[in-house]
């Protein structure tokens, strides 16, 4: 007989987590597909009773996204333009039905290489808040998602929030998703870009790509190439020439590795241009 618990306070939840192994149920949109038609054999800790974990709060230093905050909550919440990439990604997570219940944090905990939320959180320098009865710790994204379906969650811990430092909530951003159909599609590749522009010059650049490596990665070479450039069509050229050594895509049913490397460069360029409000691909041929 498995245990099922639906605590109403975080402390209660953490106490239960300390008692043994649990599978955590939040939005359920990864939980149920993983379950399929198999019977339940794991203890399940249902965190949907934790009202305090839902919603986005602003502190002096951070924007704090509660662990139960759904993609729809995020879309509906007014946020600085730096979050536009995250909001655009939110609209691409599964379908509206998924976005209405799936949590932003769950997308991280599921740790799929194709998680649409991850690149946009990477460019926001987001940190994951992990709590156990004993401790609270904050991990940067790249220290939290360790591999395909692998995270740094320790026994007894749960994610309670994702927080975005205020300095990273600056600038403008955009998200570009590449899929083989219009809706409800797992990304072949996706890119988020956030740029801070000052006097027509790129001061900060944060760019991340997903589905092109085991874990979505920031692209340091691209970011370095963009910094200091004037905001014009030359940004695309800089992207197209920049190193992207972080990426090591695999071939799968959605696309070949070669295609991904080829295409991701293009969508990085488009995301960067979109982040500064330029429409890519509209160049008029000389003729």
């Amino acid at each position: 007989m498995i245990r099922y618990a639906k605590p109403t306070s975080v402390d209660e939840a953490l106490a239960l987590l300390g008692e043994g192994a649990w599978r955590i149920l939040a939005g359920g949109t990864d939980f149920y597909p993983a379950q399929g038609s198999k019977p339940f054999r794991d203890n399940v800790l249902d965190i949907n009773g934790l009202a305090s974990l839902r919603g986005i709060a602003e502190t002096d230093d951070h924007f704090v996204i509660g662990a139960r905050t759904t993609w729809t909550d995020l879309i509906r919440r007014p946020l600085p333009a730096a979050f536009d990439a995250l909001k655009q990604a939110a609209r691409e997570v599964g379908s509206a039905q998924i976005q209405n219940v799936a949590s932003v944090a769950g997308n991280l905990c599921n740790a799929s290489p194709a998680a649409d939320g991850v690149p946009a959180l990477l460019v926001l320098d987001a940190e994951v808040e992990l709590r156990s009865v004993a401790a609270i710790r904050h991990l940067p994204m790249h220290d939290f998602i360790l591999g395909n379906r692998r995270t740094a969650l320790l026994p007894g811990e749960m994610v309670t929030a994702i927080r975005v430092p205020k300095p990273a909530a600056m600038g403008t951003s955009a998200f570009v998703k590449l899929g083989a159909r219009r809706y409800l599609v797992i990304s072949i590749a996706m890119v988020a870009a956030r740029l801070v522009v000052d006097n027509g010059t790129v001061r900060q650049a944060a760019v991340a790509a997903g589905s092109c490596s085991v874990v979505a990665r920031r692209l340091a070479g691209v970011e370095a190439a963009l910094r200091g450039l004037p905001v014009d069509g030359g940004l695309a050229d800089a992207v197209l020439a920049a190193p992207m050594s972080e990426l090591s895509p695999i071939a799968d049913v959605r696309g070949s590795a070669e295609y991904r490397l080829d295409a991701v460069r293009e969508i990085v360029a488009r995301a960067v241009l979109a982040a500064v409000g330029r429409t890519p691909g509209e160049e008029v041929a000389a003729a």
């Binding site: 007989m1 099922y4 359920g28 149920y32 729809t72 379908s95 159909r181 049913v253 295409a263 008029v284």
Partner: protein, 991 residues
């Protein structure tokens, strides 16, 4: 979102001991459904979809995938759409849930009425979800844009309609705002009548004319429309004699929008045993069972385990008798991944909590091959001992001297095209239940072919055919795959062995791995033309991967050579199609039986040939298309009814506009290029040179209703409506007087299978004959001439001829055992002739024709394709119901789009609806339909079939448009971004 109530939480909190082996204990969960407070006692993690369907009997909420991939289970929770399959019962506590059953409030909602008026529901399986999600949209945005509709409905897959009518229905819903009304528009939620005799679609009583109508059909002079008060719905009923050519709301439409329709999984008896199927995880393996009895005893609630050893009859079925080779349960070894090897039956709750990981079976994996080349390699192991070289069968059509013609041609082109497995992906996985009625086994399940199901099930279970009764439920899409039996013999075996009803609904993965697919094809061809641009010869060669069992492989091998020329005069021709076994998924029937694949080969070569000749691509096709008097590649002379030239001519202005648009765009854009492509189709309706009869029974009951035994299973395409329209006009009585009896094999004669685009033509012809025969009987009884007019007046028939009027009181007549006072039954079998050794003969009595233009834009940097428009001209002979014809065309195009751009089933890797992609509502562009009516001398009222035709030109038109845009032809279908981009790179590298 939902806040759980304190007392519920207490009950849920940390549930400890209970029965061993069970998941979390049950608990009381209270919430509101459709405005009514309810409480259920279920395990807290049970999916809300299951709670709604099984506890509350609200079966309007469908289960298509249990993974959020199809959206069929969409309900509103506190006003927002969610997938009920991904929500726990516990999460619904305290919430307000709205299902499709809650949308109508005393009468149909405006949206429901709009869906019916626009023909937005075909099979109806996805309709509840679409209605629910669109209701949430309309609540916020009463006049949504097309993009808003697409965004709101992007998470719900529809496989029948092509989405365009859904978009129109949602955008147009405001026009259907009800005034006032009363009376329940749908059966009370939770009721079901599994033992019904299959009455459906009773036409409404005559009522007052409606001021509102959204379409033009059937509104000519002298016609009046009827509105039934109970629904506030204008059914657009035509007056007597005007049914053919009108577009009444489909006769079986209302339950599709209320959630009342019962599909295969919607009416399981409460006491039924649940059945699980143990399937092979390997492509090829031998297996041995351990202690099955011991295992069953160790699992409380398991009623029995059944294997091939329990099968009382011949454990061998197959759609085509002489090729039958498939066991219902494999014996000792399995030939494909997903093959059924054993059944576990038990109480529903026990089965829900049953873990099959300790099922006593030992597998020994054996070498396998998935490619025809490996199967045909020297020394390859035989999948079936009796089939050398793993060749199931081959088909040949040969005419003239193709080698000499190609040698003498002014221009020749050669090419090769490969296609992939395509999954039918109907949103309703196979489902049904079986029970014993005395000594008769009754199987209530979704199907396309009830009589074939009956015969196959009887054979496997060792029963006389009259001891098996097939009761078709509504079928949530079929497209060919539900022609084959799937679960019928399995649930039949359990019912037979246990004496209890046995129910089974396949999971999505189970449906995908175990049922049939479209054949992957490896084709090559050469076509030659003379200097004037006339095609002089063609040689075609195709290997079709038919998978582990025969299914409809022989049909594909035979149909392809007959059709590989396209609808073009080809005096010298040889085409061979081979069906080759592998350990891959079973390839069977799928809309077009191999012809869509072959047409890609031929039509892409036609573009290349036109290019070499320097002739406009559309002109080249017009120059070569079949005309009245032409001979086909089988030597069949088509004297009349050949409408392909009319189709192509009707496309000419669109072609000119589209190519000009593309040129203008391309001169202004560098990284995106537009292209325009065209392709044609022809397709013979009905079986290839084989008997193919349909029988229709129609009669008049003493109460003045016309009873039509409509045996042509309606899987969404509309035969319930179309066959009735034909019969109504043949009989000369109004459509609304008809009551339908379903294709239940106990009550309705065999109208054949729903396949081969045959129902409108073959069953329609039988319905026409039966209608005329019934009319003749009544006229003879009244002793009047053929010119007399019939009218039903209460329980009397009034017959008028000139000034004379005769009134027959039906109550005064003898009533037969089935309740008829007049009856007629007629059979029609299309006149065909066998094909000789060279494939010469008259394989079909009727052909349909069509041509489509695809306009699209290719992102050269990403290899992605954005479709802009499809223009489709189809010669249907006579559009019996123009709205349903449009629905078929749009739906076929959507499947053609999927085949062209995204659908590739890879066993072991795409066994779900997120790795296997079908078009969403955002992937189907506007479609302009042009109906061409070149009457066929054989078809009823001149009608031809069209169900399969409509899919055939789409993929080649798209590939041709991609080549027009980019200069590259993608030779492996689907043309995914990876393949398109690779082809572009290759071309760039060649420069």
């Amino acid at each position: 979102m939902s806040q759980i109530q304190p007392e519920v939480r207490e009950a849920l909190s940390d549930l400890g001991n209970g029965q061993p082996g069970f998941g979390a204990a049950r608990t009381d969960i209270a919430f509101e459904v459709n405005g009514t407070a309810i409480s259920v006692n279920v395990p807290p993690l049970r999916r809300l979809s299951l709670v709604l369907r099984e506890e509350l009997l609200l079966t309007g909420t469908k289960v298509g995938c249990d993974a959020g991939d199809c959206g069929a289970c969409t309900v509103l929770v506190d006003g927002d759409p969610v997938c009920a399959c991904l929500m726990s019962a516990a999460s619904a506590a305290g919430a307000s849930v709205t299902t499709v059953e809650g949308l109508a409030n005393g009468r149909l909602s405006a949206l429901q009425a709009s869906f019916l008026a626009h023909g937005a529901a075909q099979c109806g399986i996805c309709t509840p979800a679409l209605l629910v999600a669109a209701t949430a949209l309309l609540d916020k945005q009463p006049s949504p844009t097309e993009t808003e509709v697409q965004d709101a409905l992007g998470g719900i897959l529809c496989r029948c309609t092509g989405y365009r009518k859904i978009i129109a229905a949602v955008m147009d819903a405001g026009r259907f705002e009800p005034s006032t009304g009363s009376a329940a528009p749908h059966p009370p939620a939770g009721t079901f009548s599994p033992y019904s005799d299959g009455e459906k679609g009773e036409a409404p009583a005559l009522a007052a004319p409606s001021p509102r109508s959204s379409r033009g059909e059937g509104k000519g002079e002298g016609q009046h429309q009827h509105q039934s008060f109970d629904l506030g719905l204008d059914r657009r009923m035509p007056i007597s004699g005007n049914a053919v050519g009108s577009s009444p709301i489909r006769l079986d439409g209302v339950p599709k929008v209320t959630g009342g329709e019962k599909f295969g999984g919607d009416s399981f008896p409460a006491d039924a045993l649940a059945v699980l199927v143990v399937r092979s995880p390997h492509y090829h393996a031998s297996f041995a069972f351990g202690d099955l009895d011991g295992w069953a005893k160790a699992h409380p609630g398991v009623a029995g385990v059944f294997t091939a050893a329990d099968i009382p009859g011949k454990n061998c079925f197959g759609a085509i008798g002489p090729f039958a080779d498939q066991p219902a349960l494999a014996e000792g070894f399995s030939r494909l991944r997903g093959e059924a090897v054993a059944l576990v039956a038990g109480e529903r709750e026990a089965i829900l909590d049953l873990d099959l990981s300790d099922f006593p079976i030992r597998w020994s994996e054996l070498p396998h091959f998935l490619q025809p080349a490996e199967a045909q390699a020297e020394g390859a192991a035989l999948i079936h001992e009796s089939r050398p070289a793993n060749l199931l069968t081959s088909g040949l059509v040969e005419r003239g001297d193709p080698e000499a013609a190609l040698a003498g041609a002014a221009f020749t082109v050669s090419g090769a095209i490969d296609t992939s497995y395509v999954e039918h992906a109907y949103i309703e996985p196979e489902a049904g239940y079986a029970y014993l009625d005395g000594d008769t086994l009754v199987v209530v399940a979704c199907t396309q072919a009830p009589y074939m199901d009956r015969d196959e099930t009887a054979k496997v279970l060792g029963l006389a055919v009259e001891k098996v009764r097939i009761v078709p439920t509504a079928t949530g899409g079929g497209f060919g795959s539900k022609l084959d039996v799937s679960l019928q013999p399995l649930i039949g075996l359990v019912a037979l062995k246990t004496g209890r009803p046995a129910a089974l609904a396949y999971t999505r993965t189970e449906s995908m791995i175990s049922t049939t697919k479209r054949h992957p094809a490896e084709m090559k061809a050469t076509i030659g033309a003379d200097a004037e641009g006339l095609v002089t010869g063609m040689i075609f060669d195709g290997d079709f991967n038919t998978g582990a069992y025969a299914s409809w492989g022989p049909t594909v091998a035979n149909r392809v050579p007959v059709h590989a020329s396209g609808p073009y005069a080809t005096p010298n021709y040889r085409a061979e199609g081979r069906a080759i076994h592998t350990h891959g998924p079973i390839s069977g029937a799928f809309r077009g039986f191999g012809v869509p694949q072959a047409t890609i080969m031929q039509e892409t070569l036609y573009d290349e040939l036109a290019g070499k000749l320097g002739i406009d691509r559309l002109d080249f096709r017009l120059r070569n298309c079949l005309r009245n008097g032409s001979e086909t590649v089988t030597g069949q002379r088509l004297d009349t009814g050949v409408g392909i030239a009319e189709c192509l001519e009707s496309l000419q202005p669109h072609w000119l506009r589209a190519t000009a648009d593309a040129d203008a765009f391309n001169s202004a854009n560098r990284d995106r290029k537009r292209g325009v492509g065209v392709a044609s189709c022809w397709y013979g309706c009905g079986n290839t040179s084989l008997p193919n009869p349909s029988t229709i029974r129609v009669g008049i009951a003493a109460d003045g209703t016309v009873i039509l035994h409509q045996g042509a299973v309606d899987i969404g395409q509309g035969s319930n409506t179309v066959i009735t329209q034909i019969c109504a006009d043949a009989l000369g009585l109004p459509l609304e007087k008809f009551q339908l009896k379903s294709a239940d094999t106990a009550i309705t004669p065999d109208a054949g299978k729903t396949s081969a685009s045959r129902q409108t033509f073959v069953t329609g012809k039988a319905a026409e004959k039966a209608g005329r025969a019934l009319r003749e009987k009544i006229l003879r009884f009244a002793n009047v001439s053929e010119n007399a007019a019939l009218q039903l007046d209460g329980q009397a028939i009034v017959i008028r001829e000139g000034e004379a009027t005769r009134r027959i009181e039906l109550a005064s007549l003898d009533v037969d055992a089935e309740g008829f006072v007049f009856r007629a039954e007629e059979t029609y079998d299309p006149p065909t002739l066998p094909l000789d050794a060279k494939g010469q003969g008259k394989p079909y009595a009727v052909y349909g024709f069509g041509a489509q233009i695809a306009e699209l834009e290719v992102d050269l940097k990403l290899g992605t394709v954005k479709l802009i428009k499809i223009t489709a001209a189809h010669d249907v002979g006579k559009a019996i119901n123009p709205l349903l014809v449009e629905g078929q065309i749009e739906g076929g195009i959507a499947q053609g789009i999927g085949m062209a751009l995204m659908e590739e089933y890879i066993p072991g890797r795409t066994e779900n609806l997120h790795d296997y992609l079908i078009p969403t509502i955002g992937d189907v562009p506007p479609i302009e339909t042009i109906l061409i009516e070149v009457p066929d001398p054989e078809g009823p009222f001149g009608a031809k079939g069209l169900g399969e035709h409509v899919l055939i030109p789409t993929a080649p038109a798209i590939l041709n448009a991609i080549r027009h845009a980019t200069g590259v032809l993608v030779t492996k279908v689907p043309a995914t971004p990876t393949r398109i981009r690779a082809a572009i790179r290759e071309k760039e590298a060649r420069r």
